[in-house]
Amino acid sequence: MPIKVEHLTHTYMPGSPFASVALNDVSLTIEDGELIGLLGHTGSGKTTLVQHLNGLLKPTQGQIWVDDLEITQKGVSLIEVRRKVGLVFQYPEYQLFEETVAKDIAFGPKNIGLSTEEINQRVREAIQQVGLHYDDVAERSPFELSGGQMRRVAIAGVLAMRPKVLILDEPTAGLDPAGRRSILGMIRQLHEAGGMTVIMVSHNMDDISTLATRLVVMSKGRLVLTGTPREVFMQQELLQSIGLGIPQAAELAHALIAEGFDLPADLYTQEEVMQAILALAKKEAKPC
């Protein structure tokens, strides 16, 4: 059980005229090895939630455990928390600052006082984990790299802390389709081969539906729905009411059902929907 959130509430600027409740009594357990897709409209509380998970924000009420450590307790070392939970912000490449890629990735491990040998080892490993080659990039300035490569370097900086849980806030924002596919492939690799627990915040239903083992849907600071992508995408009306869409394949299946065609209600991948349509075309019994 790496993460347990209990009755988490967060109010920004409490007691002032601008007070706003960003999280409202959120409870959630995330098991080892899950790949969670965290969905929600802008302002739904997604980012506020993930910022609590690595100790960046303190709850107004409620508790969070990571493994057996209650990170919301007073006096818990933030270094300890960040060794467990790594958070990759939106557009993380804006935070690169060192002269070389290797130095940038080494920044975190150095800060926690690891030996030079250990640091070098971790830098090499992290560069490999994000799909870059040490000899190609280590001594280059991060600012000479392409946008997609810079983003990988920034992610490597978080991986070098060897967290158990990796949180990525909109990791594909602003990338072109090829860059997006390759970052998604890298996340899949970290999860499947590296066995990491991953929480990914995303707006892109098509991306998330192919990747996540479970979806968590937020709206107005509350957790409104959680389940497998198949379960969640059946709730088209609920999702639309909170400003979210569903993958287009699922939308098509639902529209065909509404037209009277006999299709299973829980289809959401393009392949499934295609097979179901081809099966319909062969069948004699049609609604016409």
């Binding site: 392409s146 990338l175 389709p177 287009q248 037209e259 081809l278 075309a281």
Partner: protein
């Protein structure tokens, strides 16, 4: 001569652009004529030359070879630079980098002041620009209190107030969430339809390109494809080989056709797909 300047407010003639210290041209002998009132989407992977092309369109960059004509004016003519930028307005990617004032209406006024528009004409122009992007109610608001989509619409209003002939949107929706993207796309599409505003829409989002009149795909600084969205997105394999995607329904329709269903070409969205599937599955209806 006068006529082409009106019917094609943007003409790009054999244009190349080479960055200093780069061996290859970022834009390489590109020619295109953008018709008045058209909505043209430009696609291409990172490094394909899209943004360089955009910057050539309003004299932020000058061609190393060839000519760019904005309403008949050569962008390389030094005295015309401000005129060129008034006729071809540009909206960039990051909404936070484009807002300069503390109040929405002042931000929209900023460009007008720079152009030397008489004070008496400003209020009506500002009002009209804000109305076009449905931001009238926010005229007195502080920009930092707005959502990303709202900020981008303010940036668009700032360009609109200058009454340009062409609007160049350089990945202006890249940093927005899906609803913000929709807001901005709808506002600009409306301006295009109702006021014949010519729009060049540079994007990574295929579903945005799907609503354009014309799609141009760049690769290695050259035009790789040019046609209607229906024509371009029917070429699924080619598009993917260029590092791009096709809208999910375009891809599905090609797969279904290959599997033997008699669907027409050019399906780009769910409602078209439902309509065509009904015809195929229920021929009697």
């Amino acid at each position: 001569m006068e006529d082409t300047a009106v019917t094609f407010p943007l003409r790009i003639q054999e244009v190349s652009y080479q960055y200093e210290e780069e061996a290859q041209n970022a834009v390489d002998h590109v020619s295109m004529e953008i018709a008045k009132g058209s909505f043209v989407a430009v696609l291409g992977h990172n490094g394909s030359g899209k943004s360089t092309l955009a910057k050539l369109m309003n004299a932020l960059f000058l061609p190393t070879e060839g000519k760019v004509l904005v309403c008949g004016m050569d962008t390389a003519t030094e005295e015309e630079v401000w005129n060129v930028r008034r006729h071809a307005g540009m909206v960039f990617q990051n909404p936070d980098n484009q807002i300069v004032a503390n109040m929405v209406r002042e931000d929209v006024a900023f460009g007008l002041e720079n152009l030397g528009v008489p004070q008496v004409d400003m209020p009506s122009r500002i009002e009209e620009a804000l109305r076009c992007v449905q931001m009238t109610d926010f005229a007195q608001s502080a920009p930092h209190m707005l959502s990303g989509g709202q900020k981008q619409r303010v940036a668009i209003a700032g360009v609109l107030a200058m009454q340009p002939d062409v609007m160049i949107m350089d990945e202006s929706t890249a940093m927005l969430d899906p609803s913000g993207r929709k807001e901005v796309l709808n506002s600009v599409r409306k301006l295009n339809r109702e006021q014949q505003m010519t729009v060049v829409w540079i994007t990574h989002f295929m579903e945005e390109a799907a609503v354009a009149d014309r799609v141009i795909v760049l690769d290695k600084g050259k035009t790789a494809m040019d046609g209607t969205p229906q024509e371009v997105f029917a070429r699924v394999d080619e598009i993917k080989a260029l590092g791009l995607d096709v809208p999910p329904m375009a891809e599905l329709s090609v797969k279904l056709r290959n599997a033997g269903l008699e669907l027409p070409e050019g399906i780009l969205n769910v409602s078209d797909m439902v309509k065509e599937l009904k015809k195929v599955l229920c021929p009697s209806k």
